[in-house]
């Protein structure tokens, strides 16, 4: 079924069309939700919220942009809303001012990791770091845009990204070291 027809059928409430839409985009949405969430349970809750929003707002979709991009934006916005609600987590992030990691520590090193391992490392990041890292490095937003979205200072966004990068690199280094130790 063509994308337009699929959308129209979903708007009419056609269950089979909704099933097709889910099959097509569930992996993409779940991947995004996993990146922004702390754990799988939170990601599942977020995914449910995203799909409910998609089905309810399909009539608002204007076919000017790509449908995938529209869905991606809904998923990211849901994650941002969830982050905003959790102000406590943000405060912890501001307080958490551990030593800066050397960001170029593993810049040129190839660290072997599986996607699951990488996801565990990302999810282990504090809420603020993880959100800024995803928005900047993965989604490609600028620090100014991120600052507006998360209602934080531009410098805070920059510093949180820098720290997130450091945390992630350190975690990946530790992971590879453990792997090497196991091999030996």
């Amino acid at each position: 079924m063509e994308e337009k027809n699929l959308i129209q059928a979903c708007i009419r409430g056609d269950k089979s069309a909704q099933h097709m839409l889910y099959k097509k985009f569930s992996s993409l949405v779940y991947g995004i939700c996993l990146r922004y969430a702390k754990n799988k349970m939170e990601a599942e809750d977020s995914m449910q919220e995203v799909f409910v929003k998609i089905y309810n707002h399909l009539k608002d979709y204007q076919s000017a942009g790509s449908f995938e991009g529209w869905i991606r934006r809904i998923a990211v916005n849901t994650a941002i809303t969830s982050y905003r609600k959790n102000l406590k987590g943000r405060l912890e992030d501001e307080i958490d001012d551990r030593s800066e990691y050397a960001t170029s520590l593993v810049e040129n090193h190839d660290v072997d990791y599986t996607m699951e391992e990488l996801m565990i490392c990302v999810q282990a990041l504090p809420d603020g770091y993880r959100t800024v890292f995803n928005l900047y490095a993965v989604e490609g937003y600028k620090h100014k845009e991120i600052a507006e979205m998360l209602e934080i200072d531009v410098n805070t966004s920059k510093s949180q990204f820098s720290r997130a990068k450091g945390h992630l690199q350190k975690a990946l280094l530790e992971l590879s070291a453990r792997k090497i130790a196991l091999e030996v």
């Binding site: 799909f51 990302v122 993965v138």
Partner: protein, 181 residues
Amino acid sequence: MNKIAGDLKNFAPEAPIGMEERIQTALSKKKSFWLFSWYTMNVYVLALVGAGVLALVFSNRGESNVVAQSAAPAATEVKSTPTVVADLNANGHVILDAEKELKSAPVKTASERKSVQVETSASALVVENCQTTAIAEPAVTEVAETVEVQRTPEEIQVPNPVNEVVKPKGRSLRLTRLTGK
């Protein structure tokens, strides 16, 4: 870092089993309020019946309040009616010894309020029909309450008498020769 970002962006794992059903349940839950169902229908009917009963109760209360309010001025009418009734007979002629009739007029009790009200309305009709005689309106006497305000007199402080004896200036002279003492 770019590699990590790229990997993360393209990461699309399989959604957990049962997720679709969960989403559909959430969707139907959200919609169910607006959809017709016997359950919601019953709730609406019950709410309507309840609102009707409440409206009835409150309207009855309002009526009883009106009756209570109309009953209050009736008491004043009872006092004023004998003068009107005493001045006129059934044909609308002036009764000469109205004072006598006034005295003989029965005292209306609270239980007879209704009959008095009917009487007053009848007398009012008589008054309206009677054109030849002038009706003396009951004199309204106002009793002015006199309020006496007594002011307590302020205490006047009298200075204590000074015990000091003021001696006259100059020399004291005793006249012994004239008095002989």
